[in-house]
Amino acid sequence: MNMRGQLVATVEALMQEDERLVTLLGDIGVFGFRKAFEQFPERIYNIGILEQATISLAAGLASTGLVPVVHTIAPFLVERALEQLKIDFCYQRLGGNFISVGGSYDYAALGCTHHCPADVILLRTLPGMEIVVPGTANEFDSLFRQSWANGNPTYFRLSESQNPVSFEQHFGKATVVQTGSKATVVVVGPLLGTVMEAVEGHDITVLYYTCLAPFDGETLRQHCSSNRILLCEPYYSGTLLQELHNALGPRPLTIDTVGMPREFLEQYGHRQQHDQALGFTAEAIRRKLEPLCQ
């Protein structure tokens, strides 16, 4: 199952279990949620294309004890409604769930208006905002079930690509996929599969992060004795550098990054074509690792 399908399955199941959950769709995913519209007409809305008021309205719902889930496309959810996320949820300390599709260039052919490589770095500036980037549908299911009603605002970034293998998830904790001595790869969400191809046969630690805020600095501290890090992120390159610094403190580090450049991707095409061009391939990652490991 892809992540969108899992979103429907997970949220519908939880709506069945808990009457506090209210779903707001920004005119996407409506057909997918058709069963929920039949079963819970008072708790699911195709709210329309008005993201700012939708986030504020969701905060109003939250203040009455309900738990909103807002789902729409990443740039409109995060960039257009950033101030509403900041004030109405983070500053007011209200809980809610914001689930995007179309992060980075998942909508490659639609052009830059529908790209969103900045969602994570923008949301990192909001005190109290939790950020989750699952690598598989199963991981989304697990992470959402653990956190959806925890009273905090939480952003879930769903991706078109998935890793071949799921790992057991503990919200807020990184996974130590393998340990080695030459370098540490910090990899986020759906990039893990590509990274594992790249490190095959290498004496390298791989730390897998799905929960970026709160960031598990302790696991990084325990697994970075080489002081050489390759940070692999599927959005703007270097977004988590401050977290690495916060975790490791003032000591000499050699760091390289894999991620998106801070420029508009003005060509269209398919996501996979941009993956190739931007270096999200095992071969390109291996090339980055070689000098780090010497």
């Binding site: 209210v22 008072e42 708790r43 809305y45 709210i47 329309g48 008005l50 700012q52 008021a53 939708t54 504020s56 309205l57 969701a58 905060a59 109003g60 719902l61 939250a62 203040s63 009455t64 004890g65 309900l66 101030e83 509403q84 004030i87 109405d88 500053y91 007011q92 300390r93």
Partner: protein, 260 residues
């Protein structure tokens, strides 16, 4: 002078005194809405200052959060917090800031200040109360300048579409931002968005009360309150310079005398 007028004058004295002490405050905006607030809190809202978080309470959101001194004066008068808090307005450790914060002030339902957030939050509360099968009503007070914000009209669309007849929006129409963007016939605009509407004299308590009762089944209610910014203080009325300014000691003496 009747009881309400006496109380309004006393609250205005509290407001100018607090602002003078703090060297801070949007006094004229607070005076513009004080009559609306008093009618709401004294005659309409089903709330209990001893249990401000009671589940089925009515809710009021000051969407134009910069007029916080007006809300604080009324909440203080209604017993939500002691007068010492008001006199410490905007101090470093004060719970009462230049804009109200829901986690700090009993009776404040939403943290407002950035314009255009309060009405859509109120719509969410109204929808939430309907989902929870509560009879509670939700009131939001916006400014005419705030009505420049697109999110206000997004909320207007949502409230009408979802038939939020437990929602009331009061528009403080004092024309202070006509110089930037004239909002024209606000009542016609809300009506065009599918709201029940009523125009009132925003300083006439009986008229305000009548307007608040003009609800319609299946429609949110918009009260267009015609008001005077800085009402009751001659040097301040409709004077843009007093939008965000605290009185100096001489001005304070003069104002307290005028409001006595």
């Amino acid at each position: 002078m009747n009881r309400a007028e006496t109380i309004i004058r006393a609250m205005k004295r509290d407001i100018v005194t607090a602002a003078a002490q703090a060297g801070e405050g949007h006094i004229a905006s607070a005076f513009s809405i004080l009559d609306l607030l008093w009618v709401l809190y004294d005659r309409v809202l089903r709330i209990d200052s001893t249990a401000p978080d009671k589940e089925d309470r009515d809710r009021f959101i000051l969407s134009k959060g910069h007029a916080s001194l007006g809300l604080y004066a009324v909440l203080c008068r209604k017993g939500f917090f002691p007068p010492e808090h008001l006199q410490g307005f905007a101090g470093l450790a004060s719970p009462l800031g230049g804009h109200p914060h829901r986690t700090k002030v009993p009776g404040v339902e939403a943290s407002t200040g950035s314009l255009g957030h309060g009405l859509p939050m109120a719509a969410g509360m109204a929808l939430g109360m309907k989902i929870r099968r509560s009879n509670a009503r939700v009131y939001a007070l916006i400014g005419d300048g705030e009505a420049n914000e697109g999110a206000i009209w997004e909320a207007a669309l949502l409230a009408a579409h979802h038939k939020l007849d437990n929602l009331c929006c009061l528009a403080d129409y004092n024309h202070s931002t006509d110089r930037a963007l004239n909002m024209g016939d606000l009542e016609a605009k809300f009506k065009a968005f599918g709201w029940q509407t009523c125009a009132v004299d925003g300083h006439n308590h009986d008229d305000i009360f009548r307007g608040l009762g003009s609800t319609a089944v299946g429609k949110p209610l918009a009260i267009i309150a015609h008001t005077i910014k800085g009402k009751g203080c001659a040097r301040m009325e409709n004077q843009p310079a007093w939008h965000h300014r605290a009185p100096n000691p001489d001005e304070l003496v003069e104002m307290l005398e005028e409001l006595s």
